[in-house]
Every structure is written in C-alpha cells, then in structure tokens.
Amino acid sequence: MDTKKLVADMKARFEHNSAKHYLKEKYSSKLCTVEQGGYWKADINTISFLNSIKSKNVVILDLYDVPVSVEVKKLKEKLSDVYNTVMTEWHDEYKELENKR
C-alpha cells in the first residue's frame, strides 16, 4: 500500500504532538534497566546524583522505592551508557519525524 498517497487522499495532517508522545513511550521503556539488585531508570536526576557522590558506595531508592546499596562508579557507568545510547536513538528518530508535514 502506498501510504503517502493514502495520507494525501485522506487529507490527513501529520500530528507532531502524537509523534512526540509516541517517541516518549517508545524510548522511556528502553531507559529502564536492572543493576546491582535494583531497578533503575537512566535519567538525568539519577545520573547527576551519582556524579555528585564522592564515596565508593551509597544507598539510593530504586524505581520501586526499595533502598539499594550500590557501587557508585559501576551504576553511574551503566546508567550513563544506557542514557547515551537510548537518547541518541530518540534524537535521531525525532529529527526524522520533525521534517514530516
């Protein structure tokens, strides 16, 4: 099926808000990960907090509000790695969709 023709015939308008919403849903799940017995989301807050910790270990609450004692360096590396990979993919797809009309 030629979906471009289909869209033109229907006079459908590209909905950027829905596209942004879809991307958020798609990539949010990819940011979730498991490390050192805890469940984490590789987000800016957690990575920034880990960056600010000087000690080798720290206890932080995971996604389910369970306190987990973690090795800071190891968790920071894992979350930073996940964050960079996922956000790069997210950005690339966003750029692609942004050009649609």
Partner: protein
Amino acid sequence: MTRGVLLFGFNSPKVNYYEMAEYTAKRINHFLDLPVTIVTDSFSVPKKPTYKFDNIVISKPDKDNQFRNDIWINKGRYQAYEYSLYDETLLLDVDYMVNSDRLLKVFDFCKDYACHQNIAQLMIPKGEQEYVSRLSFPVLWATVLGFRKTEKTEQLFACMKMIQKNYNHYANLYNFSPDVYRNDFALTIAHRLVNGHYFDQTNILPWNLMHIWLKTNLFVEKKTKFNTKYTVIYDHNKNGKVKKEYTTIQDMDFHVINKDVFLELM
C-alpha cells in the same frame, strides 16, 4: 532455567484467534527468540497449520461470555500457571503486535509476576487511565503478564480462578458491571488479594502499555513478513468535525483493541 511465551487462542464464530496466535507466535520467535505454547481447543486447530507451536495444550473452552454480540472465550486464563511448561513465562494476548525485543525486559522486572498498570494511547497523548469503577482503583492489564513459578504467583492465579467463578460477587463488591468477564479486572482484584489488600508496586512494569484504540487505523507501507513500520491514521473529533491526523511509528510494540485492524495487518 527455561523461558517461553504462552498464548490463549480459542476461535469464536466471528474471529479466528488461532490464526492470530500463529501470526503473533512467528513474530515472537523472530523478535524475542522464545518458544511459544498455545492453549486452545481441538475445534480451533486447523487441519493444515501454517506454524508449528512449541507445544499445543488442548483445553475445554468456557464459552459463557459475550462481548459486542460475539462469544468471547477469554475465561480460564488462570490456568496459565498450570499449563505453562516454562520456569519463566510471558502470558500474552494474541492481539499484541510484537515489533521489537522490548518484552524480554519484562523478565528482568519480574520477581514473581509483572504486568502493566498504566496505558498510553497512540494518537491520544492525553488519554485517560481505566479504573475498575468510578470510585475505585486503576485497572491492571492482563495483556502482558510475565511470571515465574513461585508461591505468590500460584496464589495470584488461584485468586483469579476464584474471582472468575464468583464474578458477580466481586462485581458487586467493587461496583463494576458483571455483564462481560474481563481478565484485567480479575487480575486487578487478585493482585490486591494476594498482597493483603495493599497495592504492591513491585509487580508493576515501570513503562506503559501502548494501545491502538478505536477510531485509529494502521497501515503498512510494504507488507513484508516482519514489518515494523506503520502509518497511523486517527479520526480526531473536534467541535463536531472529524479531522484526519497521522503519524508514523517504527519498532514499537502495541496492543490492538480493534480485532479488525489487527486482522488487516496480518
């Protein structure tokens, strides 16, 4: 440690659920590399199947449920614990479109069992969550249910059995309509019961279940065996006028509410 996917697929007079299960199983093999067991009845199994399941469990269907003027054979889902041959099981609805390996992550987040509470609706960014009743709590979705064979999981399925058998009582208790049996409601109530009427968040997956709701159509550019790219067209009703809106999606798993839309994609 064995892992696999369990599908329930009983044909109704209008819908060939076995065929849908075959289509979904092929995608599960391709994207998740997991074996698939189907629970069905002997009438649903075709003479010349197009797919060989890892295992076929023949079960007696409970046809005592109706939805939109059709028999909806969704009862008996509590038997998943008994029927699954795997240590770690993904119990999936046959109308769930697998387009990536995202479901493998369910196993990482599954201590005893894990399911979705929050949903997202494609093309409806501000879509509302569903509640058991107006003054009650959010629905847990039985569409994707990961579980391990533990005591707590066994209790969960035992509770689902009890709720199915006494559905009118629980409908009365939780103030919802008993007319159509829903596994989502049975799961929601069972989850509360096994946790002593406390809502245990640790069984909830920390991302949303994506629904393709009604009034939303999906089209594929090229009908290949494992297509993952779709154009989504939505009828947006605004001020009494319907405006067509569209977007494109790729490599995204979703649950299709409208069976006709799913069948068109097959």
